[in-house]
Symmetry: C2
Subunit: 327 residues, 2 copies
């Protein structure tokens, strides 16, 4: 069967190759065999492939943080999963036609879910959900601010917050993004730049903002932090600017603001399987009810992996790039 | 009686004047009258006088964050204080010969305490104590790192940590400070600069550092944050560099480090009087037992306030500058 593997750290479009590997074989005790139907290509995949992630993998190695598919067979002593079930994979080796793994590597999804959408649940949707729920207790009507608001996580966050009655201030870099984000449920959208805090206060009526979410670092997190109310929390989850976070010390000392970081892989290592399963069941329901929907710009088979990588690296896209390992 | 007051926001040596004000009169119900014996001049006093503090006071106004003295008289319904008791003042108007205020504006001190030392307890010693105890649970043998280690707070922190069996890494800017700080109980003293984290790890045997304490901001807090272990906390309490805190986003996202701020005035507003009293009773005992001792470089009467201000603003001093309102 086919597997897209990393041959050496380097430019993704050159170093990821589609190779033939042996079939995984029948599931053993407590194991499940899954056909991977759809995989998303994430920024974190690219960071890892190009050597810019928290850890640099030894090559050659399998790849793919996200994937969703259908159970083909279950081994003895597996409960809760059966052939034909739709599942999301918790493995990080999903760019492959089939995976055989322990039952706890898969989360069962509702039958109504589209697998191409389910293949985008694990990272971005969970990131948006966990950042909205793990740091600051928020009630209906409370305000959250984020930058990179048109990113994958940013859009999911707007949709989830809106569905839960939270209000969002969204920082973007181009004014043509204002209307599209408002269409998705964004309450306020502002273009980054000088006097951001004053402009945000004008737009949201000066309401206190309890939580800030930053994907950029650099001076952008500093401007975003200026917008958050006294005693608020700012969560940094991205490294988009590649620059050190520049935050006015006044915000720490006199405004009692806390800055902390979010990393999905680490947070999930600290969660029990039952908790992970319950979270994704809840989020999968958001796919079914239409709260969350992500546009897909293109899908590629595994043997066009170089094209898929090059496409995923383009700055301006209208949607996600996916792999379809089984066509 | 004499009072040193701020006439207008501006250079401290020009804008603080000694003026004659009316005597405070006899204490009423629940009130206490105190002769102020010694007052310290703090960086926060200067910041406020020169318009660089969290809030800018309306002028003219009384001044002086710290002061200690002797109870002269108590009004009806005051318990726990009597004439002759030594007290530390919680008021922020201590540069004066006498204060009349409610009993909860004063903390009773042990009779053995030197008032000139007690006049330095309120801000720096409490700041060091609260930063060591409020953010991260620390046990004997645990490591803490701080910059500006030769500052007033820095030296108090070394002494308190050493007395409690904690170990400190101390960042300084000049190598001639290494030996004097080691004499005070510092475990490791390093000069700030490139590769700080590697040099610190070499000096402390690679032991994990749970708490970082930064008074500088700018790029210094970034280097200090690099030294703290995964999951650690960095507390920023000073604005010495006047520059935005520059912290690598990697430390937030992948190393789960939290940065927060400390402001004594705000933290104490959230404490009950009983808690404040108990804290200062414990810290006053550290003066009596010699754990804490601060050198005094010079003392001035109130009518030499301009000289006192100019002296307090000098960068290199061998100790605190104090006022002695009653000679």
């Amino acid at each position: 069967m086919k597997s897209a593997q990393l041959t050496a750290i380097g430019p993704a479009e050159k170093t990821v190759k589609c190779i033939d590997v042996s079939d995984p074989g029948k599931p053993g005790k407590g194991e499940v065999l899954v056909d991977i139907v759809a995989c998303s290509i994430n920024p974190a995949d690219i960071l890892m492939i190009e050597g810019n992630y928290a850890s640099v993998p030894e090559t050659p190695c399998a790849l793919g943080i996200e994937g969703a598919g259908t159970v083909v067979a279950v081994g003895p002593e597996v409960s809760g999963l059966k052939a034909g079930d739709k599942v999301m994979s918790l493995a990080r080796t999903n760019w492959v036609q089939q995976i055989r793994d322990k039952a706890e590597a898969f989360v069962r999804l509702p039958a109504e879910v589209e697998l191409s959408q389910a293949a985008m649940l694990k990272v971005n949707v969970a990131t948006a959900h966990l950042m909205l729920t793990r740091y600051v207790p928020l009630s209906k009507g409370d305000w959250v601010i984020q930058d990179a608001a048109n990113s994958g996580v940013g859009v999911d966050l707007i949709r989830l917050a809106h569905a839960d009655g939270l209000r969002t201030v969204n920082i973007v870099r181009r004014s043509e993004l204002i209307e599209p984000l408002k269409q998705l449920g964004a309450d306020v959208v502002v273009v980054d730049g000088p006097d951001l805090a004053q402009r945000v206060a004008k737009e949201n009526g000066g309401a206190q903002i309890k939580l800030g979410i930053d994907a950029v670092g650099g001076s952008a997190i500093g401007r975003l932090t200026d917008c958050v109310g006294d005693g608020g929390t700012v969560v940094n989850y991205g490294l988009l600017s590649g620059k050190p976070c520049e935050i006015n010390a006044f915000n720490f000392v006199f405004r009692d603001i806390t800055v902390t970081g979010f990393w999905l892989a680490k947070l999930m290592r600290g969660m029990q399987f039952g908790e992970i399963q319950a979270m994704y069941a809840q989020l999968a329901q958001r796919l079914v009810d239409g709260t969350i929907h992500v546009d897909i710009e293109a899908s590629y088979p595994l043997d066009k992996i170089a094209d898929a990588m090059a496409h995923a690296k383009r700055e301006s896209r209208g949607g996600k790039i996916q792999l379809r390992p089984n066509g």
